[in-house]
């Protein structure tokens, strides 16, 4: 009989153990109770960015198997296809063994092994020379690492502004779109209310960072019979199980959303009360064309935005809870003509150009479908409202006897993010959510603490003053509120190597990793000395325009020196990028290291409460590798970086674990929030606790705090929650967080484009800034689509990672690669028929940037004007421990080869990063292609092909057979 209630996500009566789990007396000699493991270590998965809790079963010092931790707030016991394959990642033959120093030409793969001491001295010598002269000549970019609060802080202490992670490539449109609008965002900082929603809309997601939570959530929706609507050109993954699949044309989601908004406005199906309480809908916007304050909020003498009290007929503070603010009309305040934000919204989106009929063709969705979805949204939001019987008090002290909810939830990710119009599209979706009154309400989209924060959150990016031997005055990444915060010099030239926070990408909250190699190669805006990278495959699938990127990494100047003088790279595996490094620092696997999944970075919080987690070594490394974070800390100490050394110059932290426990970002606040204080009784703030890691280990590797029932919703205006957030140090003051439907920071950029202000864009950039920094969401055609001849390139081309490899490094994984070792181009039947193509045909996929060859598969479940393929299956020969005949390098292909890293030249001859003009988010979904059947002699193998990498010293050929697991059986049988 079960003891205690069933735990975990899969605990329905139909998923539980048998009522009696005693083995029946079958008499067949089967050992039904084999010994499983000697010990079970609970830690955090790292097969992707999802950060699930895992239980690692160790038998005879080897990993026997890994399963999900039922108590963990992220995955509640389930585990995905990658998580279970962690064993094969850990025992991969592609793992690096020792530090490497390049001996052959860059990119050849010729290395010699060196000792760590030599590696440290090479790096220290190089980096300290940079720090003594010009710290910005170090560009430090990391990939999917989960230690950005350390890596960013390290860069700041080094004194270089040139730091970012892979967010600029991945999701900054979603992060910035959300943070500038509602002070939270999809995935990282919010989630649908899976337990209460009745209508779920999923935009541009087939698989997600938030892998297991979304799957658990979808399971709940399905069990309850809630409706799932997916908006996606491809009918795979989550879209496969949608009740309604809307195969939209890529890059038109914004228009579709505007049409929904148009319909809802026209029918008066918006939540006015919610808008008044939680948004700036009533805030007055100055309407004085040509003036320096045109489009800014009207403010009182203390700088508080004003609204118009329609009863008192006078201006009042917008945050006056007793006022009766107007949402419409034109008013005069302080001698300025102004209108409420909502009036601007109504004026814009009620325009017939956003009617379903006007957008239907462009979106590839019938007007009737758009109208139906709008009607369904309205019906569920307003006719199927829910109320939780919990009393709560809002920020103004008003008590509410119940928590009211409008059970429409939305989630959006990659398909929105990776377009050059993604920022505005993301904002459009948030606008739709807010108009329906569904953000942080029961059944809606909910914030995960430490969010919401003010929109945008502080602090601003640092890097205006870069001086030798001087740390930055803040962190390299942050949120700008206007042109004054940009990192540009007097002439408007970017101060960062990736041109983040410049006129090219003003709100580049995650940096532009995808621009670093080109800019460093071109010396634009300046030359650098050392490019240090971690865990990012920039010479292959993490770059656009791979062929040229590779050429830039190996290009030499007139003096026969590499244009990018020195490259340091840390990776655990022999990836396509390792051979391009001059110095390779071999990392450990996730089972061999400490890590923290921190509230300072991107934690494991749930909408019902904050949480963070650790990794800790569960097996010993069998080779001379070190965790990169510990290496970085030692490097910091050797360089004498402030914060990394004591006053006597000795190292402050002996490794990452020491840092995790003892580092304090501000007094009392460190990487981990749980069990703080000397005795471990404090939460959030408190002195370092020397036993903190053990407390985490004892608790299953994580800490989680459950919010009280009255703190869980309306966090943006919930007094009990806001007080808690202040106490935890999430926000500075217990003030309501106002959703910025109209973004004043964006308008400030527009004003600069009109010549107002201290920091002005160069003349050539003004039109671009004026156009794209619109304070209300807009839609425009994705850049590549607008630039190319659509007759010539009639198709959209998309990529997505298969679920079993999402955010993973699956091709070296003996199990995962069996599932997918060749990708095909999926083409709609009718499109294929029109081109005379049949299944398995080999075709050239051609864009303005080049061509790549692959094999096709005809399908129904895709937008007719779209082709797509699994991403990052194609691999370069000689990498990842794969044999030369591997499908990945012979038949699989990488679409990145034909995705430009720059836009086509504009009228001024300028080429920008192929990115969103607001955030710098890489626009790899903008790709347009044509497909051409290849000649018979060209069929059967992919192109382009690249030279095979040499193998590092002491790399044994990968095995011809794997009998993993036999040893456990032998041990069991021997023991009997």
């Amino acid at each position: 009989m079960m003891h205690g209630p069933p735990r975990g996500a899969n605990s329905a009566p139909s998923q539980r153990p048998l009522a009696d789990t005693r083995a029946p007396d079958e008499g067949d000699g089967v050992d039904t109770s084999p010994d499983v493991s000697d010990r079970v270590a609970k830690t955090t998965c790292y097969m992707c960015a999802c950060r699930c809790g895992i239980e690692v079963h160790i038998k005879n010092g080897k990993v026997r198997y890994i399963n999900g931790n039922k108590d963990h707030p992220v995955n509640r016991g389930v585990i995905c296809g990658k998580g279970s394959s962690g064993i094969m990642q850990h025992y991969s033959p592609a793992r690096l063994k020792k530090p490497l120093l390049r001996t052959g030409p860059r990119g050849s793969g010729a290395f010699r092994e060196i000792e760590w001491e030599e590696a440290f001295s090479i790096a220290t010598e190089r980096l300290s020379a940079i720090r003594r002269t010009d710290p910005k000549k170090l560009a430090f970019f990391t990939g999917r690492d989960q230690s950005q609060s350390l890596t960013g802080w390290w860069a700041a202490k080094f004194g270089t502004p040139n730091f970012a992670a892979h967010g600029g490539f991945c999701s900054v449109n979603m992060a910035a779109g959300g943070l500038y609008s509602i002070g939270g965002s999809f995935w990282e900082f919010g989630e649908p209310d899976w337990d209460n929603t009745k209508y779920f809309m999923l935009f541009g997601v087939a698989e997600d960072h938030d892998s297991n939570p979304i799957k658990i959530g979808l399971g709940k929706l399905k069990a309850r019979g809630a409706k799932v609507v997916s908006i996606n050109p491809c009918r795979t993954g989550y879209n496969a199980i949608a009740d309604d699949w809307i195969g939209i044309r890529p890059g038109t989601d914004g228009l579709f959303v505007f049409a929904l908004i148009h319909e809802l406005l026209k029918a008066g199906r918006v939540d006015l009360d919610y808008l008044l309480r939680y948004t700036n809908a009533h805030t007055l916007v100055i309407q004085e064309p040509g003036a320096a304050d045109d489009g800014l909020f009207v403010r009182d003498a203390d700088g508080n935005p004003l609204a118009w009290d329609r009863v008192a007929e006078k201006p009042v503070r917008a945050d006056d809870a007793l006022a009766k603010p107007a949402l419409t009309g034109s008013h005069e305040v302080n001698g300025r003509r102004c209108v409420p934000v909502f009036q601007l919204i109504a004026d814009r989106y009620l325009d017939e150009s956003y009617s379903p009929d006007a957008v239907a063709e462009r979106c590839g969705i019938s007007a009737a479908t758009i109208r139906r979805i709008a009607a369904e949204l309205a019906h569920v939001a307003f006719e199927q409202t829910i109320e939780l019987p919990v009393a709560w008090t809002d920020w103004a002290g008003r008590r509410h006897e119940t928590i009211k909810g409008r059970p429409v939830a939305m989630h959006a990710m990659r398909g929105i993010s990776a377009h050059s119009n993604g920022f505005h599209t993301c904002r459009a979706i948030h606008l739709l959510q807010v108009l329906l009154g569904t953000v942080d309400v029961p059944g809606g989209f909910r914030f995960k603490p430490p969010y919401p924060k003010s929109a945008p959150p502080g602090p601003k990016p640092s890097g205006k003053a870069v001086k030798p031997m001087t740390p930055l005055d803040g962190m390299p990444l942050g949120f700008v509120c206007g042109p004054d915060d940009l990192l540009v010099d007097e002439a408007g030239t970017p101060l960062r190597i990736d041109k983040a926070y410049s006129w090219d990408a003003p709100l580049a909250a995650h940096g532009l990793m995808h621009s670093v190699i080109r800019n460093a190669w071109a010396g634009d805006p300046y030359k650098i000395d050392t490019l240090m990278m971690y865990m990012s495959n920039m010479a292959w699938n993490s770059s656009m325009n791979t062929v040229e990127t590779i050429a830039m990494l190996t290009d030499k100047d007139e003096a026969a020196a590499y244009r990018i003088p020195f490259i340091i790279y840390s990776d655990a595996y022999y990836s396509e990028t390792v051979p391009f490094a001059d110095l390779v620092l071999p990392d450990t696997t996730y089972l061999e290291r400490h890590d923290c999944i921190s509230l300072l970075d991107r934690p494991i919080s749930h909408a019902d409460g904050p949480g963070d987690a650790i990794r800790h070594p569960v097996v010993e490394p069998d080779r001379d590798v070190r965790p990169f974070q510990s290496v970085l800390i030692e490097l910091g100490a050797r360089l004498g970086l402030p914060g990394f050394v004591n006053e006597d110059g000795s190292a402050k932290y002996h490794d990452y674990a020491d840092y995790i426990v003892n580092h304090e970002r501000t007094p009392g606040i460190g990487p981990l929030a749980g069990w703080r204080g000397k005795d471990g009784t404090s939460t959030g703030k408190g002195k370092p606790n020397p036993n903190q890691l053990q407390r985490y280990i004892d608790n299953g590797g994580f800490w989680h705090h459950d919010l009280a029932a009255d703190q869980r919703f309306y966090k943006m205006g919930n007094r009990a929650y806001l007080d808690f957030a202040v106490q935890m140090g999430f926000i500075p003051k217990a003030e309501p967080i106002v959703f910025q439907l109209y973004s004043e920071p964006m308008q400030r950029f527009r004003l600069a484009a009109r010549g107002h202000g201290r920091v002005l864009p160069p003349q050539t950039e003004r039109k671009r800034i004026e156009t794209y920094m619109d304070p209300l969401p807009i839609w425009y055609m994705p850049f590549e689509e607008a630039a190319v001849d659509l007759e010539k390139y009639p198709l959209h081309a998309l990529t997505q990672r298969p679920m079993h490899m999402y955010h993973s490094w699956g091709s070296q994984n003996a199990w995962l690669r069996q599932i997918t070792s060749q990708n095909r181009l999926f083409v709609h039947h009718r499109t294929g028929a029109g081109l005379g193509l049949v299944d398995d045909d080999w075709v050239w996929i051609e864009s303005i940037n080049g061509r790549v060859k692959g094999q096709i598969k005809l399908i129904d479940g895709v937008n007719e004007s779209t082709v797509w393929t699994w991403n990052a299956i194609g691999k370069r020969r000689g990498s990842w421990g794969l044999k030369d005949d591997a499908g990945e390098s012979n038949r699989g292909f990488l679409l990145n080869h034909i995705i430009g890293d720059q836009t086509s030249a504009d009228a001024n001859g300028r080429r920008y990063a192929n990115a969103d003009p607001v955030t710098g988010q890489a626009a790899w979904f903008d790709l347009r292609v044509r497909i051409v059947k290849c000649a018979p002699q060209e069929a059967g193998f992919t192109e382009p092909q690249f030279e095979r990498f040499e193998q590092p010293p002491h790399f044994e050929p990968s095995p011809d057979i794997s009998r993993f697991g036999a040893e456990f059986r032998h041990a069991r049988e021997a023991a009997q």
Partner: protein, 244 residues
């Protein structure tokens, strides 16, 4: 003994919800991971890093496009042993290696008796059996017989690895011979079906069909939206609403 038991105390099996499966392969690798060290260990992989990689797996997920006059749907489809009531894979076995347990209905292979004639895999219409060329014997799903009764596992973990792993809760486990069991009720409620019923193997495992385009589909009884009729159009409506 390859004759089938005349009576079974239980009919343990799986119920797989095709309406919910997103094709994430979680059950596939969880199965591989448990079983490669489990009762039939190892699940050998040949040429694991080469161009002809192949391996023994007990559970595989296909995807299909199902198109009817009502519309199209992509269906992810996990396929594993169905632990049939009348499994020919058992009766064709010449050595007694293949057998069906009388106590719980699990179809197993006694590896020590298997001569690797492969006939059982020919007899199985579902492709549930995979041959380990390295060991020379047939292998198959054990319904995690070394988990579901395992005293060395926490009680709550005594379910098949695939069921424990499934992130969307698309997999269920229990006694399908007991009409009162939770799985049997789920099957009844959702119209669970047998695969290839015409074969007459009487599979124990059941599949719950997708709900889209059926009467079980989620739907919203929404009326078409009508423009507001207030004077001054929508903005007039806003003013009126606010002054109420």
């Amino acid at each position: 003994m390859t004759c089938l038991p005349s009576h079974m105390d239980k009919r343990l099996g799986l119920v797989i919800d095709l309406d919910t499966c997103v094709g994430c392969q979680a059950c596939v690798t969880a199965c591989k991971e448990w079983n490669t060290g489990g009762h039939m260990a190892p699940l050998t992989d040949t040429d694991p890093y080469g161009g002809h990689v192949d391996g023994v797996w007990f559970n595989r997920v296909h995807s299909y496009e199902h198109t009817t006059e009502m519309g199209g749907r992509t269906v992810n489809f996990p396929r594993s042993c169905l632990h049939c009531e009348t499994p020919a894979c058992v009766t064709v076995c010449p050595t007694g290696a293949s057998y069906k347990r009388a106590s719980d209905g699990i179809v197993l292979i006694d590896e020590s008796k298997c001569i690797g004639c492969k006939l059982c895999s020919w007899a199985c219409p579902y492709g549930a059996r995979e041959f380990d060329t390295d060991v020379g014997v047939m292998k198959k799903c054990t319904l995690c017989v070394d988990r579901i009764y395992n005293d060395n596992l926490a009680e709550g973990d005594r379910v098949p690895a695939c069921v424990a792993a499934c992130p969307t809760s698309a997999r269920h486990f229990g006694d399908l011979g007991d009409p009162a069991s939770a799985v049997s009720q789920l099957v009844a409620e959702r119209g669970g079906v047998d695969l290839m019923p015409e074969m007459g193997y009487r599979p124990t495992n059941k599949y719950l069909p997708p709900r889209a385009h059926t009467q079980r589909a989620a739907s919203v009884p929404a009326k078409a939206l009508e423009p507001v009729k207030a004077e001054g159009g929508f903005l007039g409506w806003v003013d009126r609403m606010l002054s109420n």
